[in-house]
Amino acid sequence: MIDFIPLNTACFNKNLDELDIQLLRTKFVNAKLLYMSNSLVIRIAGTAGEGVLSAGDMLNLAMKRAGHHTMLFQSYGAEVRGDGPSMAQVRVSDSPVLSHGDEVDILIALNQDAVSLNLSEIKKGGLVIYDGQPLDTFGSQKTFTPSLPEGIQGISVPLASISYQKLNSLVSKNLVALGAFSAVSGLPFEIIADIVKARFGEKSLSALKMGLDNVTAKASVTGFNLEMRSSLQEMLILSGNQALSMGAIAAGVKVFAGYPITPATDIMEFLATELPKVGGRVIQTEDEISAVCTVLGSSFAGSKAMTATSGPGLSLMVEGIGLASMAEVPVVIVDVQRAGPSTGMPTKTEQSDLNIAIFGSHGDSPRIVLAPSTVEECFYLTIEAFNIAEACQTPVLILSDQFLGQRRETVSPFDLSGLKLAQRLKPDIEELKGYKRYRLTDNGVSPLAVPGMEGGEHAATGLEHREDGSPSYDPDNHIAMTAKRWGKLELAKLESVKPVRFGAADALIGIIGWGSTEGAVREAVSKANEVGLKVAALYPKLLNPLQTDIIEDFVRPLKKVVVVENNYTGQFAAVLRSNGITCESFTLCEGRPFKVAEVLKRIEESCYKT
């Protein structure tokens, strides 16, 4: 651990007098802290239709196969083929990649506009691969020389002309660019070639090759060596949505019902292919209301069941979720959040569905909300979600988001040996005599009979009911049953995974966050600790109910708590406050994930005397 190195950022341009000296010079950094020493960020930019996303995907995979940890982040418009700008950014490192990367080392610009649009985000010392001979609308060649600021190197490759020569169309510009990138960066050509061949066939290789050959000199790229390593062969490249789908399979989901919606659709698409292989079923329903009711029906009939949607679909599901609360049906509902409100910005990330997740149904309607932070957690927390749903007979929502759901990163194969799957509490023979579906028990969980069980016949209902399920308007009964339903959330607090803490052990400044912001916050905290700032962070995975005791323990020694989230109103900060936690709110509402520098700046600002 290095002692106090002032960073050249906002806080350290201030007079030392303005800083709260107490908050500086930590030496006790939590062992759990992940730290990224060295990384490289490559961005492919262009417009939708130029193959930006597929190039990014291939490059990402190639990086992993070359032995690097990677993360792929994509940003694109909502039109199927519009001419909105689009980009794919790959960040590689020796250690697991925590965030998508604040600045770009290498920009691969598939068209002219892409250069100017992305210039401001290129690092000093960075590199731009651009098309110096683009074709105009009539197919004749122009010349183009971007004016690059000092310190940024440019390499011209005739992407359009080569693509046009080779394939008589512009669709291979991205492949030419990948070839050129291989030449420039030293990323082994065979790795890319294999991937391209597998996807687009032998024919496409020529474009790739022409790109490679066109670049003569290997440019120096900020010292990161992209040559082949032997490590990481066993690792996987997965998106959050894929990991989540695999988690559902591992948990034993039997029925998935859903309705297409960006950015959640690929969960349904993944499961449509895979779930039948383990005897499950996937159905594309006529809307989200049908989807949520279908999974309720399936769970009632004894199967683990899940649906996945995004904001607009979740809005339609809240009545069904309320029914699951009342009738005590275990179901898992995934919300891959996107920027709202209403249709909003369907392809952009945001964390603004926390309120509806916790408070979205009418009545006092208990439900459990979990939020994974990484692709790996998408797997494990989904299993957790099914476990809690079964254990508490309650709907469980998983809040992912566009950034987490669609980014692709290296993860280790999951540890399947240690998996514990919660079994539904079923009535025994004794219980089935005069069976009462909603029997009042100590922890609120009543044995749940499923069709096929003799003697377990009952009517599940959304009406307030007595222990036997018959409707009741009796005051005492209503309060007893309400207490039963809410009591089960206490169980969830105990059963569920605990918040994750990282950063200085002697922290006086604390960050609390949830979900996909964790990576950027980890990097920021580690950088802050590196310069001696006494900062730590807490990431609860269970957002409702809150494990308040643990959060309070974290907060107690702190002088300031800042809640970081990707929305406008600071939804989690408000929830924490209503639970008695005093905190400031730091939000970003631009449809994109946080940059590390933004979080770091906020941490530093917290060091000012107030």
């Binding site: 292989k277 769970s299 009632f300 009939a301 016949e457 209902t461």
Partner: protein
Amino acid sequence: MDKKSPMDYRGAKPIWCQGCGDYGVLSCLMKALSDLNIESRDLALASGIGCSSRIAAFVKCYGFHSIHGRALPIAMGIKLANPQLTVIAAAGDGDGLAIGGGHLPHMARRNMDITYLLIDNSLYGMTKGQPSPTAQKGVVSKTTPKGSPEAPLNPVAMALVYGASFVGRGFPGKPDALVDLIKEGISHRGFSFLHILSPCITFNERETFRYYNERTELMSTDYLPDDRVKAITLAMTEDKLHLGTFCKEERPVYTDYGTDIEVMERETLIKKLYERFK
């Protein structure tokens, strides 16, 4: 398996008004179940919200008295989870044709093996008498004090056009035919749509038992339910409402698909998937 009697299916005590048509629907259903000798434990009955939907608790079985309009998706979920069960869905005309009307076409085109009892009293009983989608034009009610300007829907013709593989109509005032219809519907492998005329004696002064006794007639024995277009024509033009089977068609049910896939262990699949993502 012991031979069942209708009383073996008795669930909670019904709370309907005395004389409500739904009593007849319930007893015909219980009779049909006992004739078919279905085990209560293997029977699931999903319903929405409304007077008629209360039926889910009045039959001994696995009942799911859900939310307004959602009997069908709940029933579908049950069927998907366990195709071995006999699955019945029950809904009122408001429940099934207004708020829940969007689900019906899809259940029909999927040919989900569900028997759907659309219990029609031409109004919203539970909320005290507002006109439903099958209410006659001109009906005066508290929400249509000058008479409703809306034409009624034709549930039988709709189900036929949607492609329901079994479509019929029944009326508890002619119970034998209704019992037979329910039996046929349940026995039919596929989506069975049963339009059941069930007078609301409290709010409906028009569509009464007497009215339907006069205006319904049993389907002629000559009629063969083998032609969808003919059935639609009948449903669109009938003067008296026909009781019986309008159309019946054998075709694979939704849950028949995908059963030819070889099933593996979850862990095996996940490990296979690893290969794809390396």
